[in-house]
Amino acid sequence: MTDVQVPAPTTRKDWQTDQEVRWCPGCGDYGILTAVQMLMPELGVRPENTVFVSGIGCAARFPYYMKTYGMHGIHGRAPAIATGLAMARPDLDIWVVGGDGDLLSIGGNHFIHALRRNVNLTILLFNNMIYGLTKGQYSPTSELGKVTKSTPAGSIDAPFNPVSVALGAGATFVARTHDMDRKHMMEVMRRAHDHKGAAVVEIFQNCNVFNDGAWDTLVTRDNRPDMLIDLRHGEPIRFGADNEKGVVMGSDGAPRIVEVADVGEDAILVHDEQRSGPGLAFMLSHLASGVDMPTPVGVFRAVETTEYASASKSQLTAAQERSGAGDLSALLHSLPTWEV
């Protein structure tokens, strides 16, 4: 964001409110909150120019804990509220925080439209694959067969892959991280914040009450090397304790995981987050179809294109440059008139 004056440095404390944090003890949200509060001073932005907007759900309590401007809205509508705010105030630094139910179920429509418009929002999507605040129903990211209070015989709904949904909606920045790795979270969130346009960060987040350990196969310290594929722009896509595994593009057009030794280093797919089409990023988002498969994290896509609120503002400015500031009396006389 562009602050006119050089912002005074802030500390983590400048971004913390006095409100008692009310998430369940052990919730993954704490780690995300810490990451965000630690990141903000590093971004060189000011609390008064920052707004956190949320919908409803556990994640949506987030704004109350940030000493910025904030709005806790209604279920699913945070991207729509934030779109209006961004259009009215393109000078602000606006973050949207929501869970998988909030942003992908009841708010799915607003989510995709904010992305395709490319509104300058940093959207943090806390994905715990469950409804927490309503106490344990399956969510739009819950796996097939998931047994919950509302699916005693197992879920028969195919889950959304949030990164695929975002890419399909034309998102210009899409990334994924997880709540167990603060450094990675901060790095990805910094990139998302600096992106001019809509930026989505899916965060694997543990709900220790209703879906405890749902991401463990991927995110525990022991599992990470073999199960998380850290995407880095311009670098071959490799992972494993000794970087011994990699991703290649098959002659059938599908990416697959191989032993680097088997195919040679030159055969490994080089990650290109700036590729104009989303196709490759989409394929990578589908590399894993469950938490038992190696899963890419990091920045899938980061391309620059016209940002919505500034484009809207440009039209206003252009109109004023063309015809001057509006003249109300002239407007009222703009249809045929007659004098009595």
């Binding site: 008064e48 940030m66 709005m71 209006g84 006389h333």
Partner: protein, 630 residues
Amino acid sequence: MTDVQTRPGESDGAEPLDHVVIRFAGDSGDGMQLTGERFTSASAIFGNDLATLPDFPAEIRAPAGTVFGVSAFQVQISDHDVTTPGDAPSVLVAMNPAALRSELAKLEPAGTVILNSDAFDDRNLAKAGYAFDPRDDGTLNGYKVIEVPMTDLTKKAVEGTGVKPRDAERSKNFFALGLISWMYTRPLEPTLDYIKERFGRNEMVHQANVRALQAGHAFGETAELEAQRFTIAPAAQDKGVYTSINGNTAMAWGMVAATVQAKLPAFLGSYPITPASDILHELSKHKSFGITTLQAEDEIAAACSAVGAAFGGALAFTTTSGPGVALKGETMGLAVSLELPLVIIDIQRGGPSTGLPTKTEAADLLMAMYGRHSEAPLPIIAPHSPSSCFHAAIEASRIALKYRTPVIVLSDGYLANGSEPWLIPDVSTLPDISTEFATTTNHVDAETGEAVHWPYVRDPETLAREWAIPGTPGLMHRIGGIEKEDGSGNISYTPENHAHMVATRAAKVAAIAKDIPAAPVTGDVDGADLLVLGWGSTWGAIVSAVDRVRAKGHRVAHCHLTHVNPFPSNLADVLRSYPKVLVPEMNSGQLSRLVRAEFLVDAKPLSKVQGQPFTAAEVVDGIMNLLGGN
């Protein structure tokens, strides 16, 4: 073809009339709305008072020749003040058999029917459901019938312009307009100006329409219709500059005026819906006033984006019709809880569900009052005529800004599309509705000694909270739909606090009664036997009806509400001043329920839910019935 020059007042012995009601009717694609609008515009510029009623189907191009595809436009022009488009037309222009079949019953006895005889072929007669040609079977007995081969004459008139024969007949609405303009001694110049502006870029079409118009005008003379020629003198009007305006344009301009008078940037979030979309179209043109518009992905996003813009310090609007208000309900509840300014404009239409999208109704009043979850009161403003939509938008914005509350404006399809001459106000007379953003902290934390902003600190007079917008250093705060402690705004589930907040939100809205004009009473203010209580677009029919019954010697008063919630503080006294109260409404009795519940008066509803506005005669009947026929 000679140029036809007409001058107002040059009437060749035409018979003077004090008013006329004309109904143009044809296929949806025949251009009847355009014809009616042009006739209206020429009459307005000539100086008549007038009121219009566009009446068209929801289908864009219904199958040609069918009764359900008929599009009509009724206008009353007069040499005196009129408030309605007239009860029964005295002239019907029917461009095809379907138009005749659908509209003939509305014509007054012995009225004049002008037919496009070229359209009365077997195929069109069959499509209209006529077993026999109505021109020959006695259907038209008792009417003055003028048959004109409009299609053929139009084709001949446009020969040589280069327009293809099958396109040539598309100009026949201008032929009809030319003929009617001759019959009612309307000047052609405003129409010629319009044709030039609208079609000037295509010289062929421009010329075709001009020639059709002139041919229609000339036809009146050559066909010896002298006995059918009339004048309607200009009406006595207040001095000033006038324009002809419909309700949606007036509403949009009122929103622009509110933007200017509030000295704020404005934001409109809207989703296309009949009959409200024209407001979005109009506002989208006025970016130079600092107005941002968003065609949102749905009705909910339209309202939510407006709430977001309001949080950012914009004068925020969302425009829609009844189905959209239903979808926005939760967001309106949020705005009530956030106590942010928001203007919700509902152009009501027939319902429920899709109902009658292009037809009028005023049945959203109870939804506006109560149609939200929990206790979520908000003010309601209802314009009474097309031009009054301008002031309604400003007044709604004033209240929203001053009291930090969502406000609903209830217009309807009749006001939205109907037009009337409007004495353009001097913009220097418009109210200043500006408000101030908070710039300083308003609380010192007892523990830390830190100066902070408490979002729910209220003005003791208005109970409005401070509006601190993002970007203001030191005033960072969080608000939300979750219940909060008054003052601090911190989340609070305390029983006493919730009761206090519910009562405070209600008291804030109720107290607006002190800040609005008393409800005006007209007619026999003292000693009337009956009061007609109205709101919204029934005004015109009620005014005409009350005039008529008073002219017959009955003592009747009329009170019309612009502020429907809260009620003006004198309303209780007004209602109790008269032995009988009649409430005409385009619903099944909604205001009558409200006043019965609020004031324990025996207010009788007079309902009409046909997708059509009241005629004055219907209100006269209602009054006479309640008076007991005396």
